[in-house]
Every structure is written in C-alpha cells, then in structure tokens.
C-alpha cells in the first residue's frame, strides 16, 4: 500500500466521519464537537479513530487522539500524522 494522500486528507477524514455519524456532508463543520454537536459517545469516537486508521493508513497516538474534541482538531491531527 502506498503512503497516505496528505493533500486529500481533509475530505477523506470527513468521508470517514460520515460513515460513523449520520450527518449530511454540508452539515459537518470543523468547529463541531463529536460529543455535543454530533451526539456521539466516547465509544463511537474510539470506533471512528479505528475507522480512520484502517481506511486512511495512519496510526494516531493515543494521547493526541484522546484530546480531540472537534472535527477540525481531528483533521489537523490526521494531516500532521500523515505528513510525519
């Protein structure tokens, strides 16, 4: 498998999020929180991290992934990890 496509990472993260949280694409915004805005619990978020790692070929460090609260933060983290 080739390395992750860093440039296309943001749309890819949004695509994976939509697979786990049933929201229309136009609704999701970087400032939205996984808990309050997307009404997800901690288990759903853990599953989302697994989805991202499998589908996008990155490994997110536990402590950094655990600190993520908003969509934008997750996109930033995935992009940063993919670049490193």
């Amino acid at each position: 498998m080739n390395g992750p496509d860093v440039e296309g990472m943001a749309p890819a993260v949004y695509r994976v999020i939509r697979g786990r949280y049933p929201f229309a694409p136009e609704v999701l915004r970087p400032e939205m929180g996984f808990g309050v805005d997307l009404a997800g619990d901690s288990l759903t978020f853990i599953e989302l991290v697994g989805d991202i790692e499998v589908q996008l070929g990155v490994r997110l460090p536990d402590e950094e992934a655990a600190a993520v609260r908003k969509i934008g933060e997750l996109v930033d983290l995935v992009t940063r990890v993919a670049r490193s």
Partner: protein, 197 residues
C-alpha cells in the same frame, strides 16, 4: 456463600456505602478461596465475582486483572447435553485465559475458549468467546473489538466526568460527586419543593 454476602451487604448498609477498602478486603479473601478451588490467579488481582463455572481450574487470570461483579466464566458448552444421547459422558470444555492488566466489566459472560489479550478492557454486559488481541476494547453481544483499550483509557483520563473520588469517605464522596453533577443539597431541596407544588 449466601451468609457471607448477607453479612457484607448488611455491613455496607450500616455504613451507608461500600468503602473502597471494604471490597478490596473482600476481593483478597475471595481470590484466596478461588485459588483454593483451582482458579489460576496472578498477583494484584481484584475479583468481585464468585461464578467460575463447574471447572474453575480451567480459568486463568493474569497479573493485575480486575473482574467486576456479576461476571460469569463458563468453561463448558451445555449443549453437549444432546451428545450424551450417544456418548453418555460427553462434555464440551474450554479454557478461559485472561491476560495481564485486563479489566472485565460488570455482568460480562466469558465463554469456553475465550482468550483475552493483555491490556484489554471488556465493557459491561459483553458476551465474549474466542481470541481477543492485546490492548482491545471489547463490547457487546457478541463481543466485538471496537478499538484500542489504551485509547479508551486516554480518553477517560481527559474526561471532565473522571473524578478523584475513589478513596474519599462515603459522605464526602457523595457531596463531591453531587456537586460535580449539579445535584448538591441546594438542588435537592429545590427539587423537593418543586415536588410539593
């Protein structure tokens, strides 16, 4: 067994709560009893269940394992009952092995042949069978791996609802937790007054 439970329950009721030291002592005594019955139990384990099936010697807990109340270890498949029409002594059996540093949540059922990898967390009420990789978070029935246990713990560590209340005296513990959730004495009195209206 029942009298032991009753004694413990009465003691807790008298105190108004189960203090952490209390159940740790109960766990230590239970671990010794279970070891005597053949369960292989590592060091620094906390075990709050007595249900180790009819073949307790097929169960092995690693080091620093915590098993919550209501958990059942089932080391045989009772459906072998039907085999006994042709093989009167048939039993279908399996070992259950829980690796080091695992947590098995309240009311889980671990079936014969289960092998839980080190550092895993099994969510409350899960029904688990077969192999589970190290560092797994397992939930549901049938239990499935939904992610890394280490990520779940890291998330829990940062959660605003994770409080440092475990070893507080019961009354103080209640006060701190109620205050955290906005359920202090004032809130209780307001709620009682509203109930009277």
């Amino acid at each position: 067994m029942w009298s032991f439970f009753k004694r413990t329950a009465l003691r807790c009721l008298r105190r108004g709560s189960t203090a952490s030291g209390d159940w740790q002592q109960q766990s230590a005594a239970r671990v010794e009893r279970l070891r005597a019955s053949g369960v292989r139990i590592g060091v620094d384990c906390v075990v709050l269940t007595e249900s180790f099936s009819t073949e307790p010697w097929l169960v092995e807990l690693g080091n620093r394992v915590a098993v919550a109340g209501g958990v059942k270890f089932l080391t045989h498949d009772g459906a072998a009952h039907f085999l006994r029409r042709e093989r009167p002594d048939a039993q279908s059996l399996g070992r259950i092995v829980v690796g080091d540093d695992c947590f098995v949540g309240e009311d889980c059922l671990l079936l014969a042949g289960t092998r839980i990898g080190s550092g895993s967390i099994v969510g409350a009420g899960s029904v688990v069978r077969g192999p589970v990789p190290d560092n797994s978070l397992v939930v549901g029935n049938p239990g499935r791996v939904v992610g890394r246990a280490s990520l779940a713990l890291a998330r829990m560590r940062l959660s605003p609802d994770t409080l440092d209340t475990f070893r507080l005296p019961p009354e103080e513990r209640r006060r701190v937790i109620e205050a955290h959730f906005g359920l202090g004495i004032a809130a209780r009195e307001t709620s009682i007054q509203e109930g009277r209206r």
